[in-house]
């Protein structure tokens, strides 16, 4: 359940950047290939933000799809997890998108 640690990381980062601010909304980007499950973050957000500057804040998550380029045939494709293999059969790929795990913005009162 590292999603709890992820929410704690969000609380920490926001407190560090905006000390004392009352946060009403947090916007996160959690890519499909990031290794973090957005639904689990939603599940533990309320509990993990209790008693912090993020308590009661709305949580908005965008989930960019995975995108890879095959180093063998050059094709750009959207991988089916868990294996990031190109339709040509090669697994030698460059990940172009989907590994995002960031706080894009917050709203403060």
């Amino acid at each position: 359940m590292h999603e709890l640690a992820i929410v704690e990381g969000v609380v920490d980062a926001v407190a560090e950047r905006l000390p004392g601010a009352q946060v009403t909304c947090v916007r996160l980007e959690i890519g499909a290939l990031s290794g973090v499950v957005a639904d689990s973050v939603r599940f533990c957000f309320e509990l993990a933000t209790e008693g912090t500057s993020l308590q009661g804040a709305r949580l908005e998550i965008t989930e960019p799809a995975g995108e890879c380029r095959c180093r063998v045939c050059g094709r750009i494709f959207h991988p089916d997890m868990p294996i990031m293999a190109c339709p040509c059969g090669s697994a030698d790929v460059t990940v172009l998108a989907g590994q995002e795990l960031k706080i894009t913005s917050v709203m403060v009162a």
Partner: protein, 270 residues
């Protein structure tokens, strides 16, 4: 609740080497003394209700990544090779380290991560290596702050090899950089051969995969070729060695791999 690892009780560093067996260090992130430069904030407008949006565009794990970079820098300056050793519970991490400690002599130090108990640290100590135990409580992985605490207590000498034995788990430890020079993941033939396919995030990052318990291959239904094929699919460039930490089979290749990465003597004296 611990700010980084999410553990409820706070991780504790226990020293089980030397004369100070009962000594415990509370895990307190505020004591790390790592400072960050203030970053300019972008304000992207104010809503009708007076609420304003502040653009942060910041990695969630930025704090852990900064602490890991400090660990990496400290280890490199000192000439210590740090290996983050990961596997599911029971794959043989501690058995491998016991044997490696015995066969490589006094060159090894170990940070042991477990949710509870000092059992593994006691085994490592008995094998002759200096060790500190980190108990993560409810936490499912080690993070860079815990390793920084462990490093301060362990104080590994220059030219040594430091193993960070992560909490047995193929999911969460993959996300947290500890400041290591290399990640080693152990699979074992008593697990399913499909582990690389099921836990691609972990195996994709591995600099080396050890397939352990090969002495049991005659007795278990484990398809080595299928395991290798799955590993190549998630990580085409990965290196795999077949070993048995119990019998010693295949371990010379493991030691060669370690020696190739250990800082040369000139670096150790600097």
């Amino acid at each position: 609740m611990c700010a980084t690892c999410g553990c409820s009780g706070g991780a504790v560093v226990r020293v089980v080497d030397g004369q100070d067996d009962q000594h415990q260090h509370g895990h307190n992130h505020s004591q790390h003394g790592h400072q960050d430069g203030a970053t300019g904030l972008l304000h992207a407008g104010t809503g009708a209700d007076g609420a304003r949006t502040v653009i942060l565009e910041q990695k969630v794990l930025a704090k852990n990544d900064r602490l890991a970079a400090l660990n990496r820098e400290w280890l490199a300056e000192r000439g210590v090779l740090a290996i983050n050793l990961m596997s599911s519970p029971g794959a043989g991490k501690t058995t491998l380290l016991e044997r490696t400690a015995r066969e490589l002599g006094g060159r090894l130090t170990v940070i042991e991560g477990d949710q509870e108990t000092t059992l593994d640290a006691s085994r490592i100590k008995a094998a002759g290596a200096a060790v500190v135990q980190i108990n993560t409580g409810a936490g499912c992985h080690l993070d860079a702050a815990m390793v920084a605490d462990g490093l301060r207590v362990l104080d590994p000498p220059g030219g040594s090899i430091l193993f960070i034995e992560n909490v047995g788990n193929l999911v969460c430890p993959a996300l947290f950089d500890l400041g290591e020079a290399a990640k080693v993941v152990i699979s074992s033939v008593t697990e399913g051969a499909d582990k690389p396919a099921k836990y691609p995030n972990m195996f994709r990052q591995a600099d080396l995969v050890l397939l352990n318990k090969t002495d049991l291959l005659p007795y278990v239904d484990f398809d080595v070729r299928a395991h290798s094929a799955d590993l190549r699919r998630v990580s085409p460039a990965s290196l795999m060695l077949q070993v048995s930490a119990a019998t010693g089979e295949g371990l010379s290749a493991w030691y060669d791999w370690l020696w190739r990465r250990t800082p040369p003597p000139a670096d150790r004296e600097s």
